[in-house]
Subunit: 140 residues, 2 copies
């Protein structure tokens, strides 16, 4: 693994601040997809001295270095989930916000097939699927 909260030459040094640790651990402890606003509200509850902008900035950073993944939420909201810094695909439940990893091979087969048949390069980052997991009522 090459990244982390403290890194790296080409973009300038990064600093491990308490706010960043707070955001990262809050995201990790959530254990499901959460919105930036949700995370901010939770963090404010415990520690009033953290700014809204900082939460957005830190989430961007976490995504950039691969410690979080960003999803499209329903109403123009970004949702985030903590994840290992290797690429994989997700099933995202629209009801409970839970995520499940998908077998890469399955999806990669589709990607190859699509590429072969349509001359189209899929953007892996967006290959996440949305639906309802079995333990949720089909609310909506």
């Amino acid at each position: 693994m090459t990244g982390g909260l403290v890194a790296q030459s080409s973009v300038g040094p990064r600093r491990l601040t308490t706010q960043r640790q707070l955001v990262a651990s809050a995201l990790h402890e959530a254990g499901r997809t959460v919105s930036a606003a949700e995370l901010f509200a939770g963090l404010r509850g415990n520690n009033p001295r953290i700014g809204r902008a900082t939460v957005f900035r830190t989430l961007d950073l976490l995504v950039e270095i691969g410690l979080a993944q960003r999803f499209e939420g329903d109403g123009h909201v970004y949702l985030y989930t903590s994840c290992a810094p290797i690429h994989h695909h997700h099933l995202v439940c629209r009801v409970c916000g839970g995520t499940t990893d998908i077998d890469d091979a399955e999806v990669d087969a589709l990607i190859r097939s699509v590429h072969r048949r349509h001359d189209f390069v899929l953007d892996h980052a967006s290959l996440d699927f949305y639906g309802t997991c079995s333990s949720c009522p089909a609310a909506k």
Copy 2:
């Protein structure tokens, strides 16, 4: 086919207004994914008497009756494309905005497989893929 611009009992009568025809034809003539704002700007150029809210309302309506499809744009923007009122999946090029239909069978196989293996009901509406088509430089 059961829907159209003029329909239907259970939700009350719908009216075929000039604005709706304008929006629908503008979307159809675009021949690619467009944002509501883009569509609004184009329509205003030709006909100053059309409201922003009407464009949003009409696009919602078109999606509802199946004459348009909504995609997640990049920065919390909805993108729309005109389409036949039957369900199918798309490849959406992030560079040129073009769309290509995907063979349903291919995707349905993945859906079935995912459902069998993960107890997860995929929401068909969101099964659109984003990437770069072969005729676009990999800008970004």
